[in-house]
Amino acid sequence: MRRYGWFLGLIFILALILPQVLGEFWVHVAVEILILGIFAVSFNMIFGYMGQLSFGHAAYYGVGAYITGMLMVKASVPLPICLALSMIGAGICALIIGYFCVRLTGIYFAILTMAFGQLIYYIIFKWYSFTRGDDGLQGIIAPPLLFSANAYYYFTLLIAAAALIVMWFISESPFGYTMRAIRDNADRTRFIGINVRKYMLINFVVAGMFAGLAGALWGPFNRSIAPDLCNWHQSGTPVFMTVIGGPFGFLGPMIGSVIYTFLMAFVTGFTEYWPLTIGLVIIFVVLFLPGGVLGFFESRMKGFRSNASKPEETIP
């Protein structure tokens, strides 16, 4: 990752000048890429780093979106405070749900997270008096400072960069390595003194908090939100992105977000058969690009390196 430092710096500079060269439509796409990218990177904290498939991650995304949406519409709370509260709210949600889910692994974990995700979806859907249910919540307006597309883009870029840096530090910290240890050999990890269940829960909550942050950013961007943000279709999106981009590099899911969102914006421009398209892409990636795009390039690059793989290069 450190080796790619200059490369990342370049990307960041490109990101900064992006609105100056592209039209408003693509700036919107860029915001969407960033928001979904944070969502997907937070998902990968559970998937790539801890080794479990959460099929209900959208619950925290949706909860974050609704907390911010409702606070802004009903109480005109300033956006930064909403973001913080969204993270906390999503975190609490993840704590309650995660408490039950971390007792399981593998397919049981996947299904239980999905079941809870659907429950959250139904609660938001049916609680009409509070959330306006299926009608959704309209009129989430960003503060005047961030009202223009470019302004909101820079705001999102800032928050996204900060979130990525924090998650990066976490992934490279002792906690992050403990997650990898739990992924690779949970039993052994118990025998070196780690309460695996507790650590899984902590990771689950942190991941949920960042998903909540992503959801919170979505509301003012989209001007409206709907319960659909919580259902299992939405939960599938970060899974796609992570698999396309590659689950074993920190930025894999973000790369996946770029590809996925760009592709969607492009394809839906001239056909309604987006599910067909993305379905074929997924099958292609699963069958022929097992490590995702990132994995593909990493294995290419290994051919050019003469020395043995360094710690940063191996699968983290």
Binding site: L53, W232, I283
Partner: protein, 332 residues
């Protein structure tokens, strides 16, 4: 989807007026009348039958799902999609034979056979490539299939609802002690029971069934005995899809056939398999009936909450007994 038994009340003429409650209690064979208790019983019975029929529909879908997972460890996200395609094929065949009274009865098995063929193709082209992969990749593959099939249905059959008009024999209700029950529900239930017995017989009594059960237990052993495991997998997958496709065809005349039905149904099928226990035929049957009845009865006291209730039950099972009611206990 379609009509639930609760929607159907007997024609008014059947509701006899019974002034004296005493008389009715003295004569239990008296058909349920219009007094509160009688109507309540009618309601419960018809809800029960509706739930049973819904449960049987779920059983038909979930049995294939459970079988495929039990033998090949693949959770087929697209299973209900094959079910839906079966329904569409049934409709198309029925349309061709509309002028013949027996049209439906031919369309159903025909659709099933077509689906079996499609199942074979899918297994050969896609499924067999992910046997050695991990769960996430397998789930993603079948999820992608779900997405693709959804759009293929749209492309092939368009977006309008489709309706099969039932032949005269099964269009109306039959009366069970005066309680009206949709006669087609009886047919669905019979098919479900038939498939259950058939599968049980196949797995417990036939040689091929024994091979399948052995493959669940240990693929190495089966292959060491000289039986080609890939053929077993292909066969099981085809069987699962055949049942699903036939189920779709059977279910088609119940209500209308709409896009997106597969989405709601696959989640319920997952819940069924979780509640009953992966790989257990009895578990799938019991789980289906439970889910079906939850669905039917929740309409009475919590109309919006059917699916939420099902998820709550599923979550409870996963927390308390992850391997389901009839699954084999294991470290999870």
């Amino acid at each position: 989807m379609g009509s639930r038994g609760g929607d159907y009340r007997g024609p008014k003429s059947r509701e006899k007026i019974n002034p004296s409650g005493k008389d009715r209690d003295k004569n239990p064979a008296h058909p349920a009348g219009s007094t509160g208790k009688g109507m309540y019983i009618t309601l419960l019975m018809s809800q029960f039958m509706s739930g049973l029929s819904q449960g049987m529909m779920l059983f038909l879908i979930a049995s294939g799902l459970s079988l495929i997972f039990g033998v090949m460890n693949i959770l087929n996200f697209a299973h209900a999609s094959f079910w839906l395609v079966g329904a569409y094929f049934c409709h198309s065949f029925w349309l061709l034979m509309k002028d013949y009274g027996f049209g439906l009865w031919v369309s159903i098995p025909l659709a099933g056979l077509v689906m079996a063929g499609i199942g074979w193709l899918i297994e050969v082209i896609l499924i067999r490539r992910v046997y050695s992969r991990d769960l996430p990749e397998q789930l993603l593959l079948t999820y992608a299939m779900f997405l693709i099939i959804g759009d293929i249905i749209k492309i092939s059959w368009g977006v309008e609802d489709r309706l099969i008009i039932r032949p005269a024999g099964v269009a109306g209700p039959v009366f069970f002690f005066g309680i009206p029950i949709d006669s087609y529900f009886i047919f669905v239930i019979l098919v479900g029971v038939g498939v259950a017995i058939g599968l049980w017989f196949f797995l417990k009594k036939t040689k091929y069934g024994h091979i399948v059960r052995a493959a669940v237990f240990s693929r190495e052993m089966v292959s060491a005995l000289g039986i080609p495991v890939p053929r077993v997998y292909t066969g099981v997958f085809i069987l699962g899809i055949f049942i699903a496709g036939t189920a779709g065809a059977v279910q088609a005349p119940v209500g209308s056939i709409t896009l997106g039905m597969d989405m709601a149904v696959i989640i319920q099928a997952f819940c069924v398999v979780v509640i009953g226990g992966f790989g257990s035929l009895l578990g799938t049957l019991v789980g289906s009936i439970i889910v079906g009845e939850i669905y039917a009865f929740s309409i009475l006291f919590w109309p919006q909450g059917a699916l939420a209730l099902i998820f709550i039950v599923t979550a409870i099972i996963l927390i308390v007994r992850p391997w389901g009611l009839f699954g084999t206990p294991m470290r999870v």
